[in-house]
């Protein structure tokens, strides 16, 4: 009895003395290091935002969003055609890539998760995510922009919105596919079991149970793909090129924000440089909106 | 009983139950033996010992019930374990009754000893021996799971009943011959009756042992005796 009554204070004493030891010092030191490094990472990010706001905001106006780009030496104007072009080409990219991505994800996750084809698709998709975007541009340039003969002649050649959308589609396809696969994989197996147990077919199970449950996560993937595609310059330089005018058809060179920024920021014209800053600000806002909506959609699921 | 339970505490609780029951059985056996010594050796000390020791047996009866309830509550015994617990608890009831009969015998003995010895007491000796060995055998059948021994008890109980009946008849005859000895004869008749009850209880213990081993209910199966 006596030993057990003595022990607790003993134990507490040890707990108290260890607080002032070397271990506690290291613990505090490392905590400080982590906090300061975390602040350091904020510096580039915050300075980008600061620069964008400082240089881009003064020129941000309705006309900047709606008018055509100014020629060198001119004043005023905007980049309305580039916003439209960017949205359009991202849309084309999505329309091309989403069905492929989601259907492939359904196949490799639901129908034949362990088949050789599924493993190949999965492997190739992972490889594609690592491919530099410029390669996508070069590829689309070769497939679409260059004139073709023989059985490929039906593909319209030349710089065009199609070609830009195609390049972006290739760029985002692996992202959509892999996030959709993850989304489907995270649907509890118990749901599928319940559905099959009630006599549902494969298709009914996917359509009525798996997809509805996985949809928010799939949408998140799509939104992240949008955010990435909207900011890409390299694939578009090779495929959509640029245009000073409003888009008339999908078969002609098309303006985009990223290429406009690239073009204007390398000129000697001060006004064009200022426009590049404003366009950058708009682009960042667009991408941020896409990112935030992705998170909102995903959070709704939880 | 082999192999042992995965749960050692279960094994321990069953062992505790069995040990208490066997301790109670051996005390009951000893009490009956003491009652016999008191009666035939005309020794009042033995009779008093029997009456005093009964308390210990009562305590053990309560303890066996407690052990049994403990096992049932904590371990939900199944199959042979369940049968063992049930038959052990039933046995303790029967043992307690046997011990009570031993006390009754001891009380009657004290009165009998106070009076002059009657020769007819010798006729009670075989009845006492049969009842006592029946108790020993019933306990042995429980302890060793000896079904054959337990089955034999039924027939022996019937014999004991017959012995008791003919003893009672004899005593009644003797009563009309010798009126002043009637109180002693009455005591002897009662004691034979107690011994006959002890035989019944030993038979019951035997039936419980059979149930524990083979899940067979042999009660009320033979030709009606009572």
């Amino acid at each position: 009895m006596s030993t057990s009554t003595i022990e607790p204070p003993d134990f507490l004493d040890r707990a108290i003395t260890s607080g002032s030891g070397a271990r506690a010092f290291w613990s505090r030191f490392l905590t400080c290091v982590c906090i300061s490094l975390a602040f350091l990472t904020l510096i580039p990010l915050l300075s980008i935002i600061f620069l964008l706001l400082k240089n881009g905001l003064p020129n941000l106006s309705l006309s900047a969003l709606t008018e055509l780009p100014p020629a060198a030496g001119m004043v005023g104007g905007g980049f309305g055609n580039a916003i439209v072009g960017t949205l359009l080409m991202v849309a084309i990219g999505l329309v091309l890539a989403t069905p492929f991505g989601i259907l492939s994800a359904i196949y490799i996750n639901e129908y034949a998760p362990a088949s050789r084809l599924s493993n190949t698709v999965r492997f190739v998709a992972k490889l594609l995510t690592g491919i530099p975007s410029i390669i996508c541009g070069v590829f689309a340039y070769a497939v679409i922009v260059l004139p073709k003969t023989g059985w490929l002649a039906w593909i319209p050649s030349g710089f065009s919105a199609w070609a830009g959308g195609f390049a972006l589609a290739i760029l985002i396809l692996p992202t959509i596919l892999l996030t959709a696969e993850q989304a489907l994989m995270s649907v509890p197996h118990a749901y599928r079991e319940a559905s099959y147990g009630l006599g549902a077919t494969n298709f009914q199970t996917i359509w009525r149970v798996v997809l509805p449950d996985g949809l928010p996560a799939i949408m998140t993937g799509i939104m992240l793909a949008v955010a990435r595609a909207a900011g890409e310059t390299a694939p578009l330089i090779f495929t959509a090129l640029f245009s000073q005018y409003w888009i008339q058809s999908f078969n002609e060179p098309t303006a985009s924000l990223s290429v406009l920024i690239y073009n204007f920021s390398t000129t000697f014209d001060d006004h064009q440089k200022a426009m590049a800053w404003t366009a950058s600000l708009v682009l960042v806002i667009l991408v941020t909106v896409a990112n935030i909506s992705a998170q909102v959609i995903f959070r709704k699921k939880q | 009983m082999n192999p042992t339970h995965i749960l050692t505490s279960f094994e321990e609780a069953l062992r505790q139950l069995r040990n208490d029951a066997l301790m109670m059985a051996s005390l009951t056996e000893r009490n009956l033996e003491n009652a016999r010594k008191g009666l035939f050796e005309r020794d009042e000390d033995w009779c008093n010992t029997v009456i005093a020791d009964d308390e210990e047996i009562d305590t053990l009866e309560v303890q066996v019930d407690r052990d049994g309830i403990n096992v049932m509550l904590r371990f939900h015994p199944m199959a042979s374990d369940m049968r063992n617990v049930i038959s052990t608890m039933k046995m303790s009831v029967n043992l307690e009754r046997i011990a009570d009969q031993a006390v009754n015998i001891a009380r009657r003995s004290r009165k009998l000893i106070a009076r002059p010895e009657v020769t007819e007491i010798a006729l009670l000796q075989p009845i006492f021996t049969v009842a006592e060995t029946m108790v020993k055998d019933s306990i042995r059948s429980y302890a060793n799971g000896d079904v054959e021994l337990a089955r034999g008890l039924k027939e022996r109980d019937r014999e004991l009943d017959d012995m008791n009946r003919s003893f009672a008849e004899k005593m009644t005859n003797h009563m009309s011959a010798c009126v002043e000895l009637i109180p002693s004869y009455m005591d002897l008749i009662f004691m034979a009756r107690f011994l006959e009850r002890i035989g019944d209880q030993a038979k019951n213990i035997g039936e419980d042992s059979i149930y524990a081993v083979s899940a067979e209910d042999t009660r009320h199966t033979g030709p009606a005796v009572d």
């Binding site: 559905s195 099959y196 006599g199 | -």
Partner: protein
């Protein structure tokens, strides 16, 4: 090793059953003959023969990996969702092989309800959960759907608790309610058999008691097969008990018999907790 049950009640029940009853319940309602089952190269069931009577509760007990769930999942051919499985022997439902080429596995599963270990309502409303099996078979009639919802919920003793929140998410129910919802969902299609794979293992004692009470009610209408690790549960709610060990059916008998005086030593060792 064949165990045939003598079931006097079932014969009397078949006499009572009305004209709406398409199939008369029989003692060998669900019959498994010389059944072997393999996951790839690993054999999970060895020469199982069992005849499960209709309108009774049959419990499957045995240590983990003994094949009891595997057999259960063969009754509605759920095991075929796993790659590389193979079977030998036959399972007859009311005298017809469930492996008959003419029988569609989808239709088979619709006539056999299944309740799983972990309650798994869909992330939909209570209403939609129950009518799922009707929707997938193309039923659109609102009145039929409504009626099914009420009948199934009443059948699963959940109507009073759920009637005011039919269109709320099923995931807002308590654990025990969810499991009863799963039972309601399983009986919505009026199956003949209800398979239950450890339906109470994740429930508290009160929810468990409710489900067991429900099982007792449901056996008037359905043939129930329940896999359980809880022997008290098997004794409480089953009429027959089958003991499996290492993929073999060791013993099949009336529950009272199994738990008071099993015929096989392995059964005795298992139910008394003497497994080495």
């Amino acid at each position: 090793m064949t165990f045939t049950m003598e079931q006097p009640q079932t014969t009397s029940e078949s006499e009572k059953s009305g004209p709406t009853q398409q199939t008369s319940p029989r003692a060998d309602f669900l019959k498994v003959t010389n059944f072997n089952f393999y996951y790839g190269k690993k054999q999970a069931l060895f020469d199982v023969n069992i005849e499960i009577p209709a309108r009774q509760v049959t419990a499957f007990i045995g240590p983990s990996g003994c094949g009891k769930s595997t057999l259960l999942r063969n009754f509605n051919r759920m095991n075929e969702l796993i790659n590389g499985v193979r079977h030998e022997g036959d399972i007859l439902l009311n005298g017809r092989s469930i492996y008959d080429k003419k029988i569609e596995v989808i239709a088979l599963r619709r006539s056999i309800g299944m309740v799983f270990q972990k309650s798994n309502p869909f992330p939909k409303s209570i209403y939609e959960n129950i009518v799922y099996s009707l929707r997938i078979s193309g039923v659109r009639n609102k009145a039929t759907l409504d009626e099914t919802v009420e009948r199934s919920l009443r059948g699963a003793a959940l109507w009073e608790e759920a009637k005011d929140r039919l269109h709320e998410s099923a995931l807002g129910l308590s654990g025990g309610q969810m499991q009863r919802l799963c039972i309601a969902r399983a009986i919505a299609n009026q199956p003949e058999i209800l398979l239950m794979d450890e339906p109470c293992s994740a429930l508290d004692p009160i929810a468990t008691a409710k489900v067991e009470d429900l099982i007792h009610e449901l056996k008037r209408q359905f043939t129930i097969i329940i896999v359980t690790h809880n022997m008290q549960q098997a004794t409480r709610c089953s009429d027959q008990t089958a003991f499996f060990y290492l993929g073999k059916l060791i013993e099949f008998d009336a529950t009272q018999q199994i738990f008071s005086n099993p015929g096989e030593k392995q059964t005795e060792d298992y139910i008394t907790g003497r497994f080495g």
